[in-house]
């Protein structure tokens, strides 16, 4: 579904991604784990068109998308839930969801998706008129995910959905991620919380200072000593 070939990304003269390659198959949850500043968010931003790679290509469903504008990529069925939620805090929950469906014209379909999102996140239905800036962190995370789903993505990129959330909410969010996946959406999940991420993902990549250093099935990585020490904590 997504194929990344040897991309390099720079911020000015900072070389943030150094020849990264990665594959995602349809229906999978793939997780990308790595330390702070390893380049995880950079990779997601590059995929969704917020950043341009200097070279290399990105194929989404066989179509090249590297260097295209974000709006074109969204239209092809790829949604990105950015780090730190980034909800439009001066707008209501409902308006945020409407903006999620910004590019769509099928009124009927949009209405159905509203239903679906509200089913997935009943909390959002209760709060649909509330300004999203006043939601709690967890609720905002739900909104950010719901908003991305409104675009009916085939591939969903999630950047640290558990960051700053209370343990209970982390569990809920991860459960929902699995649900979304089961209803047919492919997911690329970036996480610091490697334990949790590996527990729901099919496959995983490990990124360190802009390089992919390891990849494999979740089970394999869970067993790896190297991973245990670096990312799962010594306990």
């Amino acid at each position: 579904m997504l194929k990344i070939n040897d991309i390099n990304v720079y911020y000015g003269n900072i070389h943030a991604l150094k020849g990264v390659s990665l594959d995602i198959n349809e229906g999978e949850i793939v997780t990308l784990i790595g330390a702070n500043g390893a380049g995880k968010s950079t990779l997601l931003k590059t995929i969704s068109g917020l950043l341009k790679p200097k070279n290399g290509d990105i194929l989404f469903q066989g179509q090249p998308i590297s260097g295209k504008l974000a709006q074109t990529i969204v239209k092809q069925g790829l949604s990105h839930v950015p780090e730190g939620r980034r909800v439009f805090s001066n707008m209501s929950v409902e308006e945020n969801l409407e903006l999620g469906a910004y590019l769509r014209k099928d009124k009927q379909g949009i209405r159905e998706d509203f239903e679906k999102v509200y089913q997935l996140f009943p909390r959002l239905y209760e709060r649909r008129k509330q300004l999203s800036g006043t939601l709690s962190g967890g609720e905002q995370q739900m909104l950010a995910m719901g908003r991305a789903l409104m675009a009916r993505p085939k591939l969903l990129l999630l950047d640290e959905p558990s960051m700053g959330l209370a343990p209970l909410l982390v569990k809920i969010i991860f459960k929902i991620i699995e649900e979304i996946n089961q209803s047919g959406t492919t997911i690329l999940l970036v996480e610091q919380n490697a334990n949790m991420a590996l527990s729901i993902a099919h496959r995983a990549y490990v990124i360190e200072t802009g390089n992919i250093v390891l990849s494999g099935s979740s089970e394999e990585l869970n067993q790896s000593e190297q991973i245990k020490i670096a990312y799962l904590g010594g306990h």
């Binding site: 969704s48 974000a70 709006q71 969204v74 950015p82 001066n90 903006l99 910004y102």
Partner: protein, 292 residues
Amino acid sequence: MEIIQQLVNGVSLGSIYALIALGYTMVYGIVKLINFAHGDVFMVGAFIGFYSITVFDLGFFPALLISMTACAVLGVLIERIAYKPLRNATRIAALITAIGVSLFIEYGTIFVRGAQPEAYPGNIIPAKSIEILGVKISTQSLLILGTSLFLMVLLQFIVHKTKIGKAMRAVSHDMDAARLMGINVNNTISATFAIGSALAGAAGVIFGVYYTKIEPLMGIIPGLKAFVAAVLGGIGIIPGAMAGGLLLGVIESLVSAAGFSLWRDGVAFVVLILILIFRPAGLFGKNIREKV
């Protein structure tokens, strides 16, 4: 009776400020840029209307439309050429560019046609005064007030209810997140400038018809006043700009009426500062403290 006449005077002056302030505050609210060139687009609008009427013998409405269209294009050009490259720069840098653009339009116009004023022909819209209980109200100022109110409602509707309006607000809040929704940020900002500048153009023509005299530097003071009105009402808040404009007009008229016409602008600024001290985000603005 005289005080009522003065209030009427104030409201009609204020509705001109409001008319300019609407476009100002909209661009300001969405792009977060103090577009100092707004007053100059207003001036260009006035001249385009003037030439449409005198050289091409057009009526008021065609002239208005031409001027609005041309100003919309001008606004978009200004944005694309001068502001877009600075989108990631500091706001104060963008402000300097805006000052540069403002000077450029003013002196470009003078370079092209000289500094002398022009006068709108007097018969474009019949100017009548109606008298109610000894208070004279000119039909033109009623027209201006009506236009401002109508545009306020229209703008409010566009920004809050339409898709493009929602896109504008999204862009204003978080450009990258807006991109991720599939919003074309550049086009949305262009649309904002187009609407704001078209309003400035309309204000220019209406100003020309009402006050007759137009000249290349005519945009400076109304531009400044509109900026004050926009801040007074709360930056980016459309009904706030309307209220700010009217309030400013009424203050000025009352100060003049009290015999202090030379202190007029001074008093207006004193009131502005006082209001800001007590309401640091303007009359309609919510003083949202930065969340720590």
